[in-house]
Subunit: 242 residues, 2 copies
Amino acid sequence: MGYISSVASIERILNGLESADAHDDLQAFSERLCTDLGISHVVYHWVSGSGDQYGCGTYPASWVARYVEKGYLRVDPVVQGCYQRFHPVNWKQLDWSSRAARAFLADAVAHGVGNQGFSIPIRGPNGQFALFTINHSCDDNHWEMFTTESRRDLILLAHFFNDKALQLQPGRKPRDATPLSPREVDALTFLAVGYNRAQVADALSISEHTLRVYIESARHKLGAMNTTHAVAKALQRGIIVV
Amino acid sequence: MGYISSVASIERILNGLESADAHDDLQAFSERLCTDLGISHVVYHWVSGSGDQYGCGTYPASWVARYVEKGYLRVDPVVQGCYQRFHPVNWKQLDWSSRAARAFLADAVAHGVGNQGFSIPIRGPNGQFALFTINHSCDDNHWEMFTTESRRDLILLAHFFNDKALQLQPGRKPRDATPLSPREVDALTFLAVGYNRAQVADALSISEHTLRVYIESARHKLGAMNTTHAVAKALQRGIIVV
DNA sequence: CTGACCCTCGCAGGAAATGGGGAGGGAACT
DNA sequence: AGTTCCCTCCCCATTTCCTGCGAGGGTCAG
């Protein structure tokens, strides 16, 4: 195991990433990275859409299968912990006190996962949440030194990896819909902060009847089934920012 | 104007950032960075789902005031554009075709903002969305070369800046929210895709009465005033992903 | 084993949102 | 000059949602 700076320059690694143009390339890149860094595993995974997700990495297939089968997503302290954080985290810093968490870790190790990990949370548009993790088996001191030293490079790496994975995602919608009018945006914005129609109408200084026209119009433009749906769509598309 | 690598090492800059321990330090850091890079402005600001926001940077106060007064947040192609993207963006790549956008840009320039900009979107926990922007006045070629060359350093810088800003945020409720139960998440998820209560109940194979309990419970946990608000909050906090 | 929390089900009245109609004035783009 | 879109206002009937009440069984951690 060696620091990135001493094994391969971050420049060369990132350039290798740039040339990836298929998901297979990302997988190959993970494996190569693993070797280059001399660590056990590199894993990237994201959850975004309803069932829309993607993952690649060097974890044994048996572990991945077990993870899904057991529903470990709801137990995994790495996921739970990173979800609340902005900065990368060393697994040792997480909360492993619960019974379920310890059982989970034991199961992971039994399936060939190393006891040390360093996970970088990454968030993208539309609520995308990804984790870029490196994993190894060694003592705490070594791992601490390695991650401290390589932290910045790893962040950059995770960032570019995610960028690439997003680009390669097929389900990219171009920019179809009719844009909302300013008043429609106003209406949805106030609705999104919890106002009811009377309050929104008051805030916008218009009659509630007029307001309703906006809401309906926005609903139709967004292809939404009801107001809640319209607000949700507007939020996801970044049409309204609250 | 010089590339980061040629003016000051990214290491030194980041270390300067590390030592910041108050918002004033971030402000001072922005100003220093401006000088170091030889550019007109450095700006950082964020908006989060909880309505709280923070900003600092070197834009003239008159421009910031005007921005707020005019409600430019809804017009600004930088904000609108970055919200949809993961990677940093050069202002020139954005869509300035609308009249409002051009008027906005003209107004900005009139207030001392440079015509060139490079903005990095950053997303944090709980739907935090921040923008780190550098701004200058020069021709397209120079700017293109500068941003291309400094891109990686700027990303890292933006990332650490945001990390610092998050740490310094006073209103950081560490673990304010009671987490939602799985069923509550399920309920909100289906509501967010437009189902009404009957449909959600059906999808979850539970009675509508039971479903109602979840929705109410989720509403209370999220501090939401109604279902739409609850869904909006859940989306912004990344509790549900559709 | 005792809370604490989750999942499940029920009733009923009142409040709010929705759907579908119509109508006039103004700004903008062709 | 005409079309298209936006803003504004109004009525009515129906559907849906919110509020407040109550109840039993399950799981998990201290």
